[in-house]
Amino acid sequence: MKMLINVPETVVTDALRGMAAAHPELTVDVENRVVVRRDAPVADKVGLVSGGGSGHEPLHGGFVGPGMLDAACPGEVFTSPVPDQMARAAAAVDSGRGVLFVVKNYTGDVLNFDMAAELAEDEGVQVARVLVDDDVAVVDSTYTAGRRGTGATLFVEKLAGAAAEAGAPLERVEAVARQVVESSRSFGVALSACTTPARGVPTFDLPPGELELGIGIHGEPGRERRGMMTSGEIADTVVDAVLDDLRPDLPVLALVNGMGGTPLLELYGFAAEVHRVLGERRVAVAGTLVGSYVTSLDMAGCSVTLCQADEELLRLWEAPVRTPALRWGI
């Protein structure tokens, strides 16, 4: 597979050098792999730090800036970052009011962020942690590692980020993040597998006439394979899978997310179908974001995340944000 890279070993550092060049409003430590908003630590503000494997861009580095994350720590492709990165980020963004780690629920991310929290606490930084686990394709039981963290991460980072920007204390920022996690569910579909730079061939084999339901964001195969469907049929399947787990009695925020290899033209068509299904199911939509935000390299496909939002969450959603990938109101 042809890729726009130099060598597989440097894809992450090459991308960080590019971020540094394109975004002078960020401090990009290429060697230690930490992206920090340039004005950090912001006085009297709780710090928000996230991170995870690379390959999901713009998550997380593209969400660093006023109104969202204070710092992001990219790992190797699909590999969680190491504890030193998050400890360094925590030290860089702590104003003395504490730091919230936003962690997607994967075994590696959880272990590395836990070790980082210990390191940061040894340095006198107060750390709280919220686990994002919104993917309903994984059965949450003692027989699995629990539901995966996917699209809801964007809502957590935006809404908790807005709360922190408004001056809320750590307990409040953490509570907002937890509320968003509890109020959000996602489900994803792949039309093609993704190809990691290191391997150069697709991570699983998906024949032309088939799609994969319940995929994660790391090229891991999904739960079930079916014959190809129309956008409308996919919307029925995906939205119903989410609503099977989340029965909203409030309006929802909807993320209609591309996996990286699906054009915006197709995504907007899909967003129309998602709205149709939500209307048929009597679910009110308070806001919709369409685009490729939580991706899986070049995978074609989509995911839908719904977040049930009360008035405060809606207010936090509308609050100004200025990051490379998400910006409004400023």
């Binding site: 969680s80 970052p81 504890p83 075994t107 590692a145 290191a198 699983f204 790391h218």
Partner: protein, 212 residues
């Protein structure tokens, strides 16, 4: 005759693990692409290369210090679940070995037991979950009372790794697949078997008087 294992032995063991992982990296990645995310070989190779470089640079003088340093380097370079898990295995084993200049194999077996328990605790996993523990537990048991049956430990680890094929994964990324994880060998158990193969190889060069 019981062999005393010194810091040099542990350094050579770590170098042998690094070489074995380097040799088998593609196979580990291939196994990982079936039920994981296709990076186990590359990640372990990166971490072990860094660990071996640190051991050469800092030349720790006790077996415990060798494993503790190697473990710390894995934690700070590998990422993913493998970094903390393998790092903890080596750090806790190293800690249990203490600061002596050399240890006998019985002491190593007890230290490994502590290290494997720490891995089980950190990963909230047990035997039969289709993880590295399915190779580690049988290998440590097979070391025997005197702790020096390295050949048996190697075989037990390889058999333990092979025995993960029919298992359904209950921990880590493979657990997302449910029934679809059945029929594939666990990459973590496979790399754990390499750890014990390297131990047997290193012990073999000691027993026959070869130099590495």
């Amino acid at each position: 005759m019981t062999v005393a294992l010194d810091a040099d032995f542990f350094r050579r063991w770590m170098s042998a693990v690094s070489a074995a992982v380097d040799r088998e990296a593609d196979q580990l990645t291939e196994l990982d692409s079936a039920i994981g995310d296709a990076d186990h070989g590359a990640n372990m190779r990166r971490g072990l290369t860094a660990a071996v470089a640190s051991l050469e640079e800092e030349a720790p003088s006790s077996p415990g210090a060798v494993l503790a340093l190697a473990g710390r380097r894995l934690i700070s370079t590998v990422g993913g679940a493998s970094g903390p898990l393998y790092g903890t295995l080596l750090r806790r084993t190293g800690k249990a070995l203490g600061a002596e200049d050399s240890v006998d194999p019985g002491r190593l077996r007890e230290a490994l037991r502590a290290g494997v328990e720490a891995v089980a605790q950190l990963g909230s996993a047990a035997r039969g979950d289709k993880t590295m523990l399915d190779a580690l537990y049988p290998a440590v048991e097979a070391l025997g009372d005197s702790g020096d049956d390295f050949g048996a430990a190697r075989r037990a680890a390889e058999e333990g790794a092979a025995a993960t094929v029919p298992m359904r994964a209950r921990r880590g990324r493979a657990s997302y697949l449910g029934e679809r994880s059945v029929g594939h060998q666990d990459p973590g158990a496979t790399s754990s078997a390499l750890l014990f193969a390297a131990l047997a190889d290193t012990a073999g060069t000691v027993a026959t008087g070869e130099s590495a």
